[in-house]
Amino acid sequence: MPTSPTSILSEIEISKPISKKTRAFYRRRLQSRIHRLIRKAFREQREKAGLTQKQLADRIQSRAEQINRWLNVPSNLTLDTISDLLLGMAVDLDDPSTTPIVDLVAEEEEQRSDIAAQTDTHIKDVSAVLDGPHNPIDVQLNSSPKPSLASEPLSFESFAGHARMMQDLQAAPGGS
């Protein structure tokens, strides 16, 4: 069974130690996020100032091959290395901030219930059209009376939006 955000929360909130696996996951995740930040900064400096990997290597007295590795795959960079790389690119880290995990879990749960509610509304809307007295199919066949929804047909976008919401709902942890 996939781990749900709620189970992560319980693992973090309760007083027992956090598992080695979860710590490994989140260490790696932070490495990946820092790597993306450095990579993005390098790309921007390459475009703005023409910075090359060789120039960066020379500036921080490293080897071009090492720079290539650091930029291409996430790794467990030391704070000193991160500082050197950013300085070598002539960029400064903006003040990092943190978000309590409990808030992220609440956000995820709110999003999931919103999607469920919207999906339910769409299903009711579609059912009302199909099952109601003004079924467009009947109207087409009988040509009268004029359907109340005839002037406001359900758009493709509304169906596509519904399909996307269903996708999100199904993709959400715990979704079917």
């Binding site: 955000p5 979860t22 490994a24 995740r29 990946s32 995820e108 999003q111």
Partner: protein
């Protein structure tokens, strides 16, 4: 029956498993329509769900794949640093996923079912075990694919964006 139908059937009988990025606390911020999809064999699934060394690191790297994070990719095996590389010969369409900066580094092997839909069939294989064994692993991967599916990979060629979104070709 489409390849996706076949995958679904294989999932229903427990031959394949879809990887969910649910351990990532921010995964919900990436909409389903923006995600890639990763299916794995029973063996890989067991590894991911286990407490074995490097399971957590691998889970994160797979999550990054699913959540459409940018990564480097190579169309030939000789590129040293990238997350994914296609093995030679390209026409056989066998790819490896590389888990770097771990001891040992790990490798996973599989094929693309469609754009942004990858099926990993073999792994985890420590990198040191791969030396001189690529041909054998490749043959094993193709044999396992054929045992599961009636389709051959339909994406071919050197246009990396036909395989994946948001990647850099190295």
């Amino acid at each position: 029956m489409s390849i996706l139908d076949e995958i679904k059937t294989r999932c229903n009988v427990g031959n394949l498993f879809i990887v969910e990025p649910s351990k990532d606390i921010r995964a919900h911020r990436v909409a389903a329509s923006e995600r890639r999809t990763l299916y794995v064999s029973h063996e890989i699934h067991q590894f991911l769900e286990s407490d074995r060394p490097l399971a957590g690191e691998t889970q994160n790297d797979f999550n990054d794949f699913i959540l459409n994070q940018e990564f480097d990719v190579a169309l030939h095996l000789d590129h040293q640093f990238c997350f994914m590389a296609r093995l030679d010969a390209p026409s056989e369409e066998v790819w490896e996923i590389r888990v770097y900066d771990t001891e040992p580094q790990l490798r996973f092997f599989g094929r693309f079912a469609k754009r942004n839909i990858f099926v990993a069939l073999i792994g985890p294989v420590p990198r040191w075990k791969m030396i001189g064994r690529y041909e054998r692993i490749k043959r094993q991967c193709i044999a396992e694919w054929r045992a599961l599916f009636s389709y051959n990979p339909i994406i071919k060629g050197d246009d990396i964006h036909a395989y994946l979104s948001n990647v850099y070709l190295v």
